[in-house]
């Protein structure tokens, strides 16, 4: 059987695709944000609610690195504490969205049939509602507003979107021959879902997750801007920007720093999401 041996000597290793330094800078910045939010209490920061009447609308100084606001509160401290709300809303809502949307989407796409028809119909009806208006309506009537309620409402609103993305990603994979081959070998549905499907949709899911977090953080900002997020004086990036509207002329720092934090955060998330998607895209690597 010697003539049957595939004697092709070389298989080149895959082209080393690198994530690049910018990716790691972004990861670093995000980690800093997350760590700051978690350990805000133990960091050497002024109490974000403490009003220092001796320094009102002060510019950046050694004492107050980012300056103070119109009530004499330390902006740096408020930005760091504010990130807690933004991060909690972003990750919490996406946890709910993916926790519900992802299994449903995968199951519907893999099983097809009536389950898929019904679920997809329901999701499309939900998608037809303008989600933002629905969220605004629910939040404004469901008082008192708490962080938890905001997370739940946004999370539930994101389920149809997650469902749609995951379902179509799964569909693309589920029609591949290797899934059929696994079925034919007698693999159970659970094995197929976890071994064949999940690894192949994970990259899309992760990048969508990151972009989803970014979207939700923006949404929280927008809600805060309408005065519909957590109640002041608890800081969030959104309500800080909102409050600064009136004093923008006297104290531009008040709007610059939270906006900068928000922008950098979103930029990093989007960039990481994009990079990861192309990094994991096997099809981009030519055989």
């Amino acid at each position: 059987m010697s003539d049957l041996l595939d004697q092709s000597p070389e298989i080149e290793p895959l082209r080393e695709q690198r994530l690049g330094p910018l990716f790691w800078i972004c990861v670093g910045w995000l980690s800093l944000n997350v760590l700051g939010a978690i350990f805000a209490n133990v960091l050497p920061l002024v109490n974000p609610l403490y009003q220092n009447y001796n320094a009102i609308n002060a510019g950046p100084s050694l004492h107050h690195l980012f300056g103070t606001d119109d009530l004499g509160r330390d902006i740096l401290s408020r930005v760091v504490f504010g990130s807690r709300v933004s991060l909690a809303v972003g990750s919490g809502a996406m946890l709910i969205g993916f926790g519900i949307g992802m299994p449903l989407g995968m199951l519907a796409a893999y099983r097809r049939g009536r389950l898929d028809t019904i679920l997809t119909a329901v999701m499309y009806v939900l998608l037809a509602f303008p989600a933002i208006i629905a969220v605004i309506a629910v939040i404004s009537f469901w008082t008192p507003r708490t962080l938890f309620k905001i997370i739940v409402v946004i999370g539930l609103a994101s389920v149809p979107l997650v469902y749609r993305v995951i379902r179509s990603a799964t569909l693309a994979v589920a029609t591949k021959d290797y899934v059929t081959a696994a079925k034919v070998q007698g693999s159970t549905d659970r094995r197929i879902l976890f071994r064949e499907l999940l690894p192949n949709i994970a990259p899309i899911a992760v990048s969508f997750l990151l972009i989803g977090v970014a979207t939700v953080v923006t949404l929280e900002g927008a809600l805060a801007f309408l005065g519909l997020s957590v109640n002041p004086p608890t800081p969030s990036w959104g309500n800080m920007i909102n409050e600064s509207r009136t004093v923008m002329a006297q104290n531009p720092w008040l709007v610059i720093f939270p906006s900068l934090a928000l922008c950098l955060f979103l930029l990093c998330l989007n960039f990481i999401g994009d990079r990861l998607r192309s990094y994991f895209d096997v099809t981009e690597v030519k055989l």
């Binding site: 059987m1 092709s8 034919v184 007698g186």
Partner: protein
């Protein structure tokens, strides 16, 4: 000769319909045949005539809308759940596209071991040894390639890995759906020889689906010709290629290109294209392109009839050698 052999697979009136109502397409419309133990049956026909659909219905990847499939005397048409999963391991299928048949995110050893892990028939060291043995058999060095990802392989190598995976559960029956169509001639010959070797070693029975008539002739004991969801002719390869009895078979063979400058090119060319399966012609499905069609062909549907031992034709006016 065929009478003594035992049919491993008995297919009766297999019908597969896609869609409903006005859009219903009978991709396979009442197909019956036997596959004897240890033989290779070739299945040829033009694109869209229902070859893959037949193969998938045998494996129950698609649910037939009617008809029965018997494996070793057991009707598997209505099996479900574990019984079906079990029946499937006795039959295996290899697909046309070598690249999409393998999960790009799994390593070669994992892919080949998947059926073993799913069934837990062998575990631990025994399993590892079996996997390496399978890879060796298909000509992939497990030491060098075993831990590579599937996406790092060429088409021919992917097809070898698919074959190793299909053999892991030691099936009796193997369906090869256009397994060499995407490969270069030189690699194609390697895979065809490999299949012949493994067939002998494992005592496999093969259903070999392809549109390349030369490839089918080289590997099959018997050949079935499909047209628009029906079998037009079935018989021993040499008989069928030497003296085709169905007009369609004759045209098909006439259009096959020989790698020989002196081969005749004057063979009449079949005009037109297959009609849409949405709206097949009445009576004989080949009627719209058949130069021998008569009124009877439009009214009466020809059924498979034996014209010689083991040679069946579905035509009212078959060519029968005197």
């Amino acid at each position: 000769m065929s009478d003594e052999r035992r049919p491993l697979l008995k297919v009766r009136d297999l019908t597969v319909t896609f869609g409903k109502g006005a859009h219903a397409v009978s991709a396979v419309a009442g197909v019956s045949f036997d596959i004897y133990e240890g033989e290779t049956l070739g299945l040829v026909g033009e694109s869209g005539c229902g070859k893959s659909t037949t193969g998938k219905a045998l494996m129950k990847i698609l649910t037939p809308s009617s008809g029965t499939v018997e494996l070793d005397g057991v009707d598997i048409t209505h099996q479900r759940g574990r019984a079906l999963r079990h029946a499937r391991t006795r039959m295996q299928m290899i697909f046309q596209d070598p690249i999409s048949s393998l999960n790009p995110r799994r390593r070669v050893r994992g892919i080949v071991a998947e059926p073993l892990d799913a069934w837990k028939t062998v575990t631990g060291e025994q399993r590892d040894r079996l996997v390496d043995e399978l890879l060796n058999q298909v000509g992939i060095d497990p030491e060098v390639y075993g831990d590579r990802y599937a996406r790092q392989f060429s088409g021919g190598q992917c097809q070898r890995i698919s074959i190793a995976r299909a053999l892991a559960m030691r099936p009796q029956f193997l369906i090869c759906d256009e397994v060499v169509s995407a490969l270069d001639v030189s690699v194609q010959a390697q895979i065809l020889n490999l299949l012949e070797d493994l067939k002998a070693e494992y005592g496999l029975t093969l259903l070999f689906i392809a549109h390349d008539l030369a490839v089918v002739k080289n590997i099959s004991d018997r050949v079935a010709v499909m047209y628009l969801g029906r079998i037009g002719e079935i018989g021993p390869s040499e008989v069928l290629y030497e003296a085709p009895a169905h007009p369609y078979t004759k045209f098909l063979l006439g259009a096959a290109l020989e790698a020989d400058p002196e081969s005749a090119t004057t063979g009449a060319v079949l005009e037109g294209e297959p009609p849409s399966p949405l709206d097949p012609p009445s009576g004989c499905r080949f009627r719209s392109r058949c130069p021998y069609a008569t009124e009877r062909c439009a009214i009466e549907e020809p059924v498979l009839t034996e014209v010689a031992p083991g040679h069946q034709v579905a035509c009212h006016f078959p060519f029968i050698a005197q």
